[in-house]
């Protein structure tokens, strides 16, 4: 069942168009994450859904009703701000109760709702404190609590974890995922942290310069990025991109030239000889040794990072193209070592010169 729909939504600031026609449907209970580089319009899109930013064109539909001109409080949404935006002069209780008091709910009901939200978030002991007497993580919970008491059908989060330290971030991330399971509401979550996106999302929407580049399940985006931009954006460390040249078609697939190697990629694409293309290979999919399906040549290592569980090696192929590889475990690799590197067919991503994916 569709909870929220965006139809050709456009946003202009003056004459500058920052959202250029977004179409998206979000189902009830779905956890959707907007990701994209800074300035791509994630916050703007979220704020238009919230009603904090007027919509310049197109339609916003929530539960079958056009919401373009409905005030924020009547859209059935709640928002958690990056800055938390807690009212500094009110206690935690008052912060959470403010919206309900505004709506004119009886005191008893307000108390029940606030208490319930406080229990879920384990902040019952903080209800009498002012925000200034809370830690960053506690403020974050209060901000989420303020959203929960409204019992919205859609939660909006704008980079809610970006002010927390790394450890708390992971912890809160897990809690938000639990919360989503518990209350089952639709959640729209903006971040530029792709780990948050991968772990939280039912569906990821990747934005770039105001348009949706790709929209799909996290693993689909990882396994079959629609273009070079998505491929580079999802996954860490970033995918390697190698310039290759079309050689010929054979029965097994298409043959490309990469430095001295001939590599065969399984695709039906036919191009003129010498046509340039890009091969994308994720660092974690690259293997060492001579048995790989697709041989990438020899890598001269220029730098090694030992993470304990993994070993990262940076280096260059014979023709000077740089390549990063991630190997499981602790490997005895040193600078200036040479490695034979290769990859399986299924892990090859082929992109044309326009950046679009060629193989399937």
């Amino acid at each position: 069942m569709i909870n929220l729909a965006l139809k050709d939504v456009v946003k202009r600031f003056g004459s500058i168009e920052v959202i250029n026609g977004v179409n998206l449907e979000i189902n009830k209970g779905e956890f959707v994450v907007f990701v994209g580089p800074s300035g791509c319009g994630k916050s703007t899109l979220l704020r238009m859904i919230a009603g904090l930013e007027p919509i310049s064109g197109g339609e916003l539909i929530i539960d079958d009703a056009v919401m373009n001109n409905v005030p924020p409080s009547e859209r059935g949404i709640a928002m958690v701000f990056q800055s938390y935006a807690l009212y500094p002069h009110m206690s935690v209780y008052k912060n959470m109760a403010f919206g309900l008091e505004t709506a004119g709910l009886p005191r008893k009901d307000i108390k029940v709702r606030v208490q319930k939200a406080a229990d879920i978030l384990q902040i019952s002991h903080l209800l009498d404190r002012k925000p200034k007497a809370l830690s960053g993580g506690q403020r974050q919970r209060v901000a989420i609590g303020r959203a929960i008491v409204r019992e919205p059908s859609i939660f909006l989060f704008d980079e809610p974890l970006s002010n927390l330290d790394a450890e708390l971030r992971v912890q809160t991330r897990v809690e938000i995922a639990k919360l989503h399971k518990e209350i089952g509401a639709t959640m729209i979550y903006v971040t530029h942290d792709q780990v948050e996106a991968m772990t939280l999302a039912d569906r990821i929407v990747v934005l770039r310069s105001g348009i949706i580049e790709q929209c799909g399940r996290p693993l689909d985006l990882y396994n079959k990025p629609a273009n070079r931009f998505i491929a580079g954006f999802i996954g860490s460390p970033k995918m390697n991109f190698l310039d290759i040249e079309f050689a010929e078609r054979r029965v097994q697939g298409t043959v490309f030239k990469l430095a001295a190697e001939e590599i065969v990629v399984k695709t039906s694409e036919d191009m003129g000889a010498g046509t340039k293309a890009v091969l994308g290979v994720r660092p974690e999919h690259i293997t060492t040794g001579k048995t790989a399906e697709v041989k990438l040549g020899t890598l001269t290592v220029s730098h090694v990072e030992q993470l304990g569980g993994q070993t990262l090696a940076y280096g260059r192929l014979e023709d000077g193209q740089s390549l990063t590889i991630v190997l499981e475990g602790q490997r005895a690799i040193a600078t200036n070592d040479t490695l034979n590197v290769g990859i399986a067919h299924e892990h090859c991503h082929l992109f044309g010169q326009d950046g679009n994916r060629l193989n399937d």
Binding site: L52, P71, A85, Y87, H89, F98, G99, T102, R150
Partner: protein, 301 residues
């Protein structure tokens, strides 16, 4: 010797450092401490400039408290002025600041225009202008007659309205409070209002539940400054009443009464005592504001 050497050098350096304060110290003692001490002394004397001061103990203060109807008139006028002009001025300044903060085009121009009266307001020239505007055949009455055919009274020459023209003049000088309010409003983060609008709060509720509480430190500051200023108001009453606090003492500000006692009647000793009573009154109200601040001023740190 070895131990004293550096200490001696340190002392010399300290002397050098402190010597830079000398001009200020001279000013401080000659222009501040000296006159203060002198006026305390004089307030316990009978002194009329012609003969040396005569020590009379508490007599001046006793007379102020028990046997001086003009003192009570002055108190009445001054308190009326303070209680009317300060809240009205602050309310007006806040209203204008809120309006300007809505992102009006040409904000800088309006800010300058509204601030101008504060720069000019304390001057004798403006008070004269005010006197002209509110006089029997002044600008105000001309306007009233032209627009409504109403023949107004001489506002400054009628005892029932003279004080209110002074209150108006004080309100007209709302600019400096407004500038401070504007700066305070700028400090309130925009997302506070966004959160409130998602919480369903309309303009009025946002103003009373978000803006006002977050602005209380600034309101407090403005209120203290303006109250002290209002207690000390002098120039406007002096000019408009022609120096005597008239008509029939209706604009006899405390400071004006003090001035008359000191420099017209030459009761320097008595005037000194009056001055100290004013100091105590102002100190009392300032202390009271600071004590009350705990209950209504919201500090974020």
């Amino acid at each position: 010797m070895r131990a004293r050497g550096p200490a001696g050098a340190g002392f010399r350096r300290q002397v050098a450092n402190y010597s830079f304060l000398i001009p200020w110290l001279i000013g401080f003692f000659a222009l501040t401490v000296g006159p203060i001490a002198t006026s305390i002394y004089l307030s316990f004397t009978d002194y009329g400039l012609m003969s040396p001061p005569q020590w009379i103990g508490m007599e001046n203060y006793v007379r102020i408290a028990s046997d001086d109807p003009r003192f009570w008139t002055a108190m009445n006028v001054t308190f009326t002025f303070v209680l009317l002009s300060v809240p009205l001025k602050l309310a007006f300044a806040l209203a204008v600041a809120v309006a300007l903060n809505k992102g009006l085009r040409g904000l800088a121009v309006f800010r300058a225009i509204f601030y101008l009266p504060s720069l000019l307001g304390g001057t004798v020239a403006i008070a004269f202008m005010w006197r002209q505007i509110f006089s029997r055949d002044g600008l105000l009455n001309r306007g009233l007659e032209y627009l409504f055919g109403y023949d107004g009274p001489g506002w400054v020459s009628s005892p029932s309205t003279a004080l209110y023209t002074l209150v108006l003049l004080a309100i007209w000088q709302f600019g400096s409070s407004m500038i401070i309010f504007l700066a305070g409003l700028r400090q309130i983060p925009q997302d506070m209002y966004e959160a409130a609008s998602i919480d369903g709060a309309g303009r009025a509720r946002q103003f009373f539940k978000i803006t006002l509480p977050l602005l209380t430190p600034v309101i407090f500051f403005n209120a203290v400054i303006q109250t002290i200023d209002a207690f000390k108001a002098f120039t406007s009453a002096f000019v408009i009443s022609g120096g005597d606090g008239g008509p029939i003492d209706s604009t006899l500000f405390y400071t004006l009464y003090l001035f008359q006692e000191a420099f017209v009647n030459l009761h320097i000793g008595y005037a000194s005592a009056l001055a100290w009573v004013l100091v105590v009154i102002i100190a009392f109200f300032t202390a009271l504001s600071f004590l009350s601040a705990r209950y209504w001023v919201h500090y974020d740190d």
